[in-house]
């Protein structure tokens, strides 16, 4: 029996029933830019970076199931411009100073910006005031870099069963909070062995005393960028 197939930028991609477009593409070694999609968690569709045209309609490829005969476009000039603008907005909404960030070289947002050839800020910076939480003996929270993807919220509630994090407020006021009366991480059950410790795509949830351990050139994304990871997998499997 032949497997169902859709086309992605003209290339035939076969898939298993139930797979999303981004999953099927990833399996086939084709990179669709993404930010909040995490292979271990159900898709959330919050960042919209993986938006593609499905039969001409804009859909998030992380939440849209692949279907036989779909015509999907991803690598178009218009979608690239939209993705660049999304990345620029995420940068100016927070305080992202990559040269001094522990996550630099391992950050999905940074790598996405480079992959999309984003060179400018594009918008005026919001410069929000977001104090860090250094209360925990082993963990630092730098909220300045939060992109509100909710991965830590879900990891902490679904996997760690601790509910350490939550999103509060709406629209421009939306922000990440720590679920403790004091609001401080030290007053939660958060531990470095938690799943929530390792899911943040950017540099918010950090190990203390471990920053800048890998020199430039040897950091995870210097060795293999998210694109290379997907495309390389396609070559070897």
């Amino acid at each position: 029996m032949t497997r169902p197939t859709f086309t992605l930028d003209g290339v035939a991609i076969s898939f298993d029933e139930g797979q999303t477009i981004i999953e099927a593409a990833r399996k086939a070694g084709v990179f669709i830019p993404f930010l909040c999609a995490h292979p271990e968690f159900p898709a959330h569709g919050s960042c919209r970076v993986c938006t593609v045209l499905v039969n001409g309609r804009a859909m998030a490829s992380c939440t849209t199931k692949a279907a036989d005969g779909q015509v999907v476009e991803s690598n178009t000039a218009a979608l690239t411009r939209d993705r660049q603008a999304l990345v620029q907005m995420l940068f100016v909404e927070g305080n992202h100073f990559c040269p001094g960030c522990e996550k630099s070289g391992a950050c999905t947002l940074q790598s996405l910006g480079k992959d999309l050839a984003v060179t400018s800020a594009g918008f005026a910076h919001e410069s929000p005031t977001r104090p860090v939480d250094a209360s925990h003996p082993d963990i630092l929270l730098d909220f300045n870099r939060c992109i509100l993807c909710e991965l830590c919220v879900r990891a902490s509630s679904d996997v760690d069963k601790k509910d350490v994090f939550a999103l509060s407020g709406r629209g421009l006021d939306k922000h990440l909070i720590v679920n403790a009366e004091s609001g401080r991480l030290a007053d939660t059950g958060m531990a470095t062995t938690d799943k929530a410790m390792s899911v943040c795509p950017v540099g918010v949830i950090l190990w203390k005393r471990r920053g800048f351990a890998d020199p430039i050139g040897k950091r995870p994304h210097d060795v293999e960028s998210p694109r290379q990871r997907v495309e390389g997998k396609g070559k070897t499997s």
């Binding site: 100016v92 630099s104 480079k114 060179t119 400018s120 910076h125």
Partner: protein, 179 residues
């Protein structure tokens, strides 16, 4: 012989690291100098820019003098380029944006332990600080951006080569950096 392209460079609220990285083009500066002449720049020590083809601006805007120089560059340069993280997003100096400038000055000149004289410098020669450090595109129109802290020498080289050859500048993939 065609006239040389006039290039001005300056560092506003920057550390001159971008200029150092520019100089890392090493001996390629010699063929560059066949085509380019430097106007106002730390390399020439000229104090004001004349009419130029290209202005390279390192650093963001943290005080009145920065703004004055930036406006001079925008006025005199046909093509204005934001060079480096600080010019593009404020960079390290902009990390003071979350604090009140008065508090910062008090902290540094009054409260720091070990100070021999406790006085906030207020000589009229000193340019007044702005409450926030701003990247340059928030104050003037910017034509191109060279990201990086600093941008690698190859980014300067690729960018200027394209510009001098009349091509739309395009950075090679590895030359786009944010750190």
């Amino acid at each position: 012989m065609t006239a040389k392209v006039r290039v001005a460079t300056t560092s506003l609220a920057g550390c001159f690291g971008c200029h150092m990285s520019f100089l890392d083009i090493d001996e390629r500066i010699l063929p560059l100098l066949d085509k380019v002449t430097f106007d106002r720049s730390p390399l020439t020590d000229l104090k004001h820019a004349g009419p130029c083809d290209v202005g390279l601006v390192e650093g963001g805007v943290c005080n009145e003098d920065n703004l004055h120089v930036l406006r001079e560059f925008r006025k005199q340069c046909k093509v204005l380029v934001a060079v480096g993280a600080c010019a593009i997003n404020g960079g390290l100096p902009a990390q003071r944006n979350q604090f009140d400038v008065g508090d910062l000055l008090r902290h540094v000149y009054f409260e720091e332990p070990g100070l021999t004289r406790r006085v906030v410098p207020d000589d009229p020669e000193l340019p007044a600080l702005f409450d926030k450090v701003r990247p340059i595109h928030e104050l003037v129109k910017v034509d191109y951006f060279l990201p990086g802290c600093p941008p690698p020498a190859d980014a300067f080289w690729a960018f200027l080569s394209d510009l001098l050859e009349g091509r739309d500048p395009r950075l090679p993939p590895g030359a786009i950096r944010y750190d």
